[in-house]
């Protein structure tokens, strides 16, 4: 496990870690960002902006709880507006973290070592944002515990045949396992911080958090086993989460939702948007913290390739949706697709095609994949495109279903936008805190990539 994969040089662009690093230098560089680096003005400003946006979330939630879900633009027939669009968007973003930490671990991809910690943190924060939406959407979040099976005086139980309840279990399991996996991965690095910090309170804090990890070989052996098992369990989990999310739609009978392509198409879309978000966040972080020698062009190039590949799968999904709509012979399905192309929301659909299918085609060019600014712009466009995709799926299918007499339209209100922007603020706020207090790169896994780290030949003892 975790042995660096040897590839001929022309396959990748540059090494996974630049030359000149040693065991001590990677520890000091990553640990130093947390322990030694002065809190910069840029960081404080960024944190304050994110904090300000987060207040918008609090205000929007407060207003929602006072007035009810009517403050949003939702009404029958469109009962699922921004809340569900944003829920699916955020949870999809989370998927890249688990893919990088679990699936690429099982596939022995050594380049994951430099980016997995950051991506997993992103997963946790994105799932937190996602989890807020269904709870807010209930309108009565103080009764959210009704979703869990517990003996009660009403003698009622949740409906285990409902995809919405599967969602509760899938998302809460996903969050728990991601958190555990992330924390287990942090233990050795927290020990490094404990051992290198000079301040008493830091030693105490990181010492507590590291649980007294002492780098013992007997511990490492069980630790590696547990990591591998967690990765093995998280791999089907990450696929299942977006599958279950897609069941929320596919199990219903609404035209445009009731298709078998939804699970794989949703999972690919999740990984697509997740990788785009990793790029969006990591490109600036790498720049501000001078990590170009650790998060190298090879990482960006690989992530761009994954983005392109999953983007193509998503593009296939769009084509198949249209084809199924036509080939079903069902007038409602056919109309649903026709409505996408020519209805009142057609502009959203064309923007979606532009963002998600046309834009990533630039990634075929190696020049663009290795151009940091271009890559960052593409990642932003893909993020927007994936949000539009969820808007198209949720709103367009609901607004004109079977009976023309029950048709309607949905336009978001100020409070819809406030919740979306507020969660983006919350997400960025968490990211800012994370890069300040925890090592954003897995130090011990980085050490394993160094040329001197491998046991080549044991010296003959006399």
């Amino acid at each position: 496990m975790l042995q660096p994969v040897e590839l001929p040089d022309e396959v990748h662009i540059g090494p996974v870690i630049d030359e000149g690093h040693s065991l001590a230098s990677v520890s000091d560089k990553i640990g130093g960002i947390v322990l030694k680096r002065k809190t910069t003005l840029g960081w404080i400003l960024g944190l304050l902006i994110a904090f300000g946006l987060m207040q918008l979330l609090l205000a929007a939630a407060t207003w929602l709880f006072i007035k009810g879900v009517g403050v949003w633009g939702i009404n029958i027939p469109i009962g699922w507006g921004f809340a569900i669009v944003n829920f699916v968007w955020w949870i999809g973003i989370g998927h890249a973290g688990t893919l990088i930490s679990a699936i690429l671990l099982l596939l022995n991809q050594s380049w994951r070592n430099a980016i997995n910690r950051f991506a997993e943190a992103m997963t946790l924060f994105a799932v937190m944002c996602a989890g807020m939406f269904p709870v807010l959407h209930t309108g009565r979040p103080w009764l959210a515990y009704w979703l869990f099976p517990y003996p009660n005086t009403m003698d009622l139980w949740p409906q285990f045949r409902s995809p919405l309840l599967w969602d509760v279990f899938a998302v809460s399991t996903y969050f728990t396992i991601s958190l555990v996996f992330w924390y287990v991965g942090l233990l050795p690095d927290l020990a490094t911080l404990r051992d290198t910090s000079k301040k008493r309170w830091q030693q105490m804090t990181y010492g507590m958090l590291s649980m007294g990890w002492r780098s013992s070989a007997r511990h490492w052996q069980r630790y590696e086993k547990a990591s591998l098992l967690l990765a093995g369990l998280a791999t089907p989990l990450v696929v299942s989460v977006h599958t279950v999310v897609s069941f929320d739609f596919a199990v219903s009978m609404i035209p445009g939702w009731h298709t078998t392509i939804f699970p794989p198409y949703f999972v690919a879309g999740a990984i697509y948007s997740g990788f785009a978000m990793v790029l969006t966040l990591m490109i600036p972080a790498r720049k501000f913290y001078g990590l170009e020698d650790i998060i190298t062009m090879r990482h960006l190039n690989n992530m761009a390739k994954v983005t392109l590949a999953t983007g193509l799968i998503v593009g296939y999904g769009y084509m198949m949706e249209l084809f199924f709509g036509y080939f079903s012979g069902d007038i409602y399905e056919r109309f649903g697709m026709w409505n996408r192309l020519t209805g009142p929301y057609a502009v959203f659909y064309y923007c979606l095609i532009l963002c998600n299918i046309i834009t990533p085609q630039f990634l075929w060019s190696k020049k663009i994949r290795t151009n940091v600014l271009a890559l960052w712009m593409i990642s932003l466009i893909v993020n927007i495109g994936m949000w539009l995709e969820r808007f198209v799926i949720v709103v367009l299918s609901l607004h004109r279903d079977f009976l023309p007499s029950s048709w309607g339209t949905y336009w978001p209100t100020f409070w819809d936008w406030a919740v979306l922007i507020g969660t983006i603020g919350f997400f960025l706020f968490c990211i800012f805190l994370f890069v300040r207090v925890l090592p954003m790169i897995t130090i011990f896994e980085l050490r394993m990539l160094l040329p001197g780290a491998r046991v080549s030949k044991e010296p003959v003892a006399q």
């Binding site: 399991t173 649980m211 547990a226 967690l230 003892a461």
Partner: protein, 184 residues
């Protein structure tokens, strides 16, 4: 080579040797084991798989517990869904079977992963004796670099073969950078 002594009358936890490279440590660990020591441990800044062989580390209990945890989650998840839908709150919807197996699979699956994953992490921590706020090895000042860039081998005084003088000379024969006493 001089042995770094720590003042005071503490009982000794063991003797610790420090190495510069992983190769030297693996060779030293292999020789320590071949010399008949059993209560000893190596400390490295990252997992070294060659040590599993050299120290004969083959603890598979984490896997076993995870399997048991996963199976419990699986059985528990299905039982929960079945009991709720067929026993506690049976709803007759068009005469469909109450034990609607395919619909219970997502819950069964999620609980398998949840309990299995939690068991993997918790059993790893408990088998490793963590959290442990205090451990004698931290009394050696240079040991701080075990989580940074140095490799350590500690032979514990509990080992039946442990004898202060002999063990020191044995460790010296491994050509470490330093040898230190570890007070308890």
């Amino acid at each position: 080579m001089s042995v770094e002594r720590t003042e005071g009358l503490h009982p000794l936890y063991g003797l610790m040797a420090e190495f510069e490279t992983p190769g030297e440590l693996v060779a030293a660990a292999r020789r320590t084991r071949e010399a008949g020591f059993r209560k000893f441990d190596a400390y490295t800044p990252y997992p070294i798989h060659e040590l599993d062989d050299a120290m004969d580390l083959h603890d598979n209990r984490v896997s076993l517990f995870t399997l048991i945890g996963g199976l419990c989650g699986c059985a528990g998840g299905y039982t929960l869904a079945w009991w709720v839908e067929a026993v506690a709150l049976p709803l007759n919807i068009g005469g469909r079977p109450l034990n609607s197996m395919p619909m219970f699979i997502p819950i069964t699956f999620e609980l398998t992963i949840l309990i299995g994953g939690l068991t993997a992490a918790i059993s790893m921590l408990l088998l490793n004796g963590l959290p442990s706020p205090y451990h004698p090895v931290f009394n050696v000042e240079r040991f701080a670099s075990a989580s940074r860039n140095k490799f350590f081998l500690c032979i514990e005084s509990d080992d039946p073969k442990f004898d202060h003088g002999d063990t020191v000379s044995f460790l010296e024969s491994l050509k470490p950078e330093e040898i230190a006493e570890v007070p308890r």
